[in-house]
Structures are given as C-alpha cells and as structure tokens.
C-alpha cells in the first residue's frame, strides 16, 4: 500500500521531552483566560486583576465575537472566562452561547452573584460549559474576611442552585491562604456534598494581592502540608499551580511548568493581551487585540511571547539540583515580590527565596497599575444591582 505522503506533516528538530516540544511554541494557546469585564460586585483583598469598576473601553459585543471567531480559527479548545465578575456583562449569556456555537469550550469563573435558579437551569441545559465558583473559606468568617461580608452565603446559594438544577459536576476553586489551609478537608466535604470538583490554587502577589501577600501566603510548613494533602488526592484539581513545590517529592499532576505565553495567556476586558493572568503589568503585555492582525498575530509574532518561549536561564538556581523539577517557580510570584526572574521563587521549598527576599528593596518592587478597584471595599450585591438598574 503506498505511503500517503500528503498526510505527513513537517518534522521538527529533535527534542524528545513533551515540555520541550511545546516550549518552542504552539500554533495557539491550549487554553486561555479571558476577562470579560473589570466590573465586579466584590472587592476581594487579593484580586489579581484589581477589579471593581467597569472600564469604559471594554470590548464591545461585536469585538468579543470577533475574538471568539479568531479563537475558533486557531482551534483554541477551551477558554476560561473571568473578570471581575463576568456575569455582570449584559451580553454574557449571548457570548457564552456564541462561543459554544463556534467550537470554543467555556469554563467561567463566578462569585455566584447572578447564578440564581433560572440561570442554573439554563446552564444545566447547555453543553460544553463548565462553571467554577470562587470560594476562599469553608466557613463564612474565613471566606468573608477575604471576599467581603455576605460573599460566602452568595457562593453557597449559587452552588445550591447548580446542584438542584442538575447541572452536574461544577468546580469550586479556592486560593490557598495562611488562614484557609487548615480547612482543606472541609472544602473537600463541601465539594463532595454538592457533587462538585474541588480546585485548589496558589495565591500570587498580583493585583491587590501584592499588598496582602506577605500576611496571606502560606508558611513553609503549611506548604508542605498542602503538598502532602494534594499528593494524596489526585482527583483535586490544581490548575498546575504548585509546580514550585516539585522539590518536595513527586510532581503533582499537570504539565509542571510555567504556561505563560507558551500554552496560556490572558485577554483583558479592553483587549490587552498579557502573558498570563498573574502578570497584569506593562512588562508582560504583548499588545492589544484591536491592533491589525488581532489576537492571532500577537500569539504568533509578538516579541514578548516569543521571548517567553525561549529556554529560561537558571541564573542563581543553576547550582541547585532541584531546578529541573521546579524550574525556578512562578514568574509572577518573583516579579511582584521584587525578586529577579532568574532566581528562586519567593516560596522556594529549600528556603532560597526567603533569603533572596531579605535583599529586596521594597519600595523598588514593580507595581501593577492602580487598576479598577472601587474606593469602597464593601461588596455590592444582587439586590443593590437590581435597584440601580431600575433607576
């Protein structure tokens, strides 16, 4: 039988490791985060996007559809729609339907403000959409200290609505802090009781998180506890947040590498493209989708993203035997704590990061732009939004 030469693709250079193969660059992100709006009814202390107030330059519905069209052409499989609070956009449901109709799967992250019974039933009838509810405490006191008064109850109501509507397995995603790491078992119980999948992710010193990171990030002892807990529970998702802990033992499930600019990126509400959601800073901005060539050109040709795909220098970590495992940790964690990018992660499990932090001149640390925070920290809830809409 003749070999069907026409079907054979071009051969790349030899680089046999999986991660090596796509560190050189993919034709499109595997998945990406797309923040639809900076508007938010909450003011979480650690918000990575410093959200709160809508930006008047937000992409229009038509512009959002054009982005989805690009993602479809690029065959992006999956987009994480977030914000701010994405459901606060009036066209949120239409964009959700549009994305699914155009073969881009959606997970959206929400604090639950608009997830009432009707919304839950609508979602239960929609395929290719995953829902992720944010929660940062297994009890109201722990959660609301970070997310605002009443936010725990609001999230629980949304979970209840999804469970009752028969949505199936939604996600509950938490950001691990010094104060909630003792509640891991309770989080798991909440997820199991709702038929949801638990997701545990890393706190980064990004956005408003920069101000609270020193007090909120887990201690070294807590990190070890977390690593052991996650290792024993491979069904708990992590978004590959913890590859910096790989020196503690066998790597946790996932690609175990920094995805920024290589397998993921972020599109923000005004169309700016950043290497990842945790580096909303000019130094990691690739361009804007409104420029000629749109998102596609930025992903494939922007100087920033091309540079991020080159092998990273080990720098100060070169002599450490664990560099292959942890790869120097998280770029965002280093950047916003003022550490050099070619050195240890601030939470390096061998303590190298802690030592390096002692050398940092705090006022010289990079600061994200002031962002879209509202002046008042008090959250705005559904009733108030409805009242405002009526005026």
């Amino acid at each position: 039988m003749p070999v069907d030469q026409a079907v054979l693709a071009e051969h790349p250079g030899p680089d046999s490791t999986l991660t090596g193969r796509f560190k050189r660059g993919l034709t499109a992100p595997i998945c990406l985060t797309w923040e639809l709006t900076y508007a938010c009814n909450l003011q979480c202390v650690h918000c990575l996007s410093s959200s709160g107030r809508r930006d008047p330059r937000e992409l229009s519905t038509a512009e959002c559809q054009a982005v989805i069209d690009e993602l479809e052409r690029m065959q992006v499989f999956y987009v994480n729609i977030g914000g701010g609070e994405p459901t606060l956009r009036p066209d949120f449901w239409d964009l959700l339907d549009y994305s699914v109709a155009h073969h881009v799967g959606v997970k959206f992250s929400t604090n639950g403000v608009r997830l009432d019974r009707r919304a839950a039933r609508r979602l239960a009838g929609t395929d290719y959409v995953d829902v992720q509810i944010s929660l940062d405490g297994a009890t109201a006191d722990v959660n609301d200290a970070v997310r605002g008064t009443g936010s725990f109850a609001m999230a629980r109501r949304a979970m209840q609505a999804l469970t009752e509507a028969g949505f199936g397995e939604f996600k509950i995603s938490i950001v691990v802090t010094r104060h909630n790491v003792s509640q891991l078992d309770e989080f798991k119980q909440i997820a199991d009781a709702c038929g949801a999948r638990l997701r545990v992710t890393r706190l980064r010193p990004s956005g408003r998180g920069a101000d609270s990171w020193a007090e909120l990030h887990p201690t070294a002892a807590q990190q070890r506890l977390l690593y052991d807990w996650l290792s024993a529970r491979p069904d708990v998702l992590t978004g590959d947040s913890f590859f910096h802990l790989s020196a503690l033992g066998a790597p946790l499930p996932g690609l175990n590498l920094c995805g920024a600019g290589r397998v993921v990126c972020l599109i923000d509400p005004v169309g700016d493209v950043y290497a990842c959601p945790f580096v909303l800073h000019e130094q990691f901005r690739a361009g804007n989708v409104r420029e000629p060539g749109g998102f596609t050109r930025l992903w494939r040709e922007s100087a920033l993203l091309l540079r991020l795909r080159e092998p990273a220098a080990a720098g100060a970590c070169a002599s450490c035997g664990q560099f292959d495992a942890c790869q120097g940790g998280c770029m965002a964690a280093k950047f916003f704590t003022g550490l050099p990018l070619d050195g240890p992660d601030p939470e390096c499990v061998l303590g190298h990061g802690e030592r390096a932090l002692a050398q940092v001149c705090l006022p010289d640390r990079p600061r994200a732009a002031p962002g879209h925070s509202r002046s008042s920290r008090e959250p705005v809830f559904l009733g108030q939004i409805a009242a405002r809409a009526a005026t």
């Binding site: 070999v3 998945c31 999956y78 499930p253 995805g259 993921v264």
Partner: protein, 33 residues
C-alpha cells in the same frame, strides 16, 4: 524525501521507548485561574 530518511527522522523525534500518546488534564496548565 526517501522512506529511509523519514524513518531515521522518526526515530530521532521520539525516544525509543517513549509512548506516542500522552494525556494531560485540560486543567493541567498553569496560568488559568
């Protein structure tokens, strides 16, 4: 390109005992919150 060249290149591409298919969770990428 001859069949022999393709074969030789094929062997260079993937380690001899490496699996040709690898599965990763869609949640297994860092940079998606």
């Amino acid at each position: 390109m001859t069949q022999d060249t393709l074969d030789a290149e094929e062997e260079n591409l993937v380690e001899a005992d490496e699996l040709l298919v690898e599965e990763v969770s869609i949640d297994g990428m860092c940079g998606v919150y």
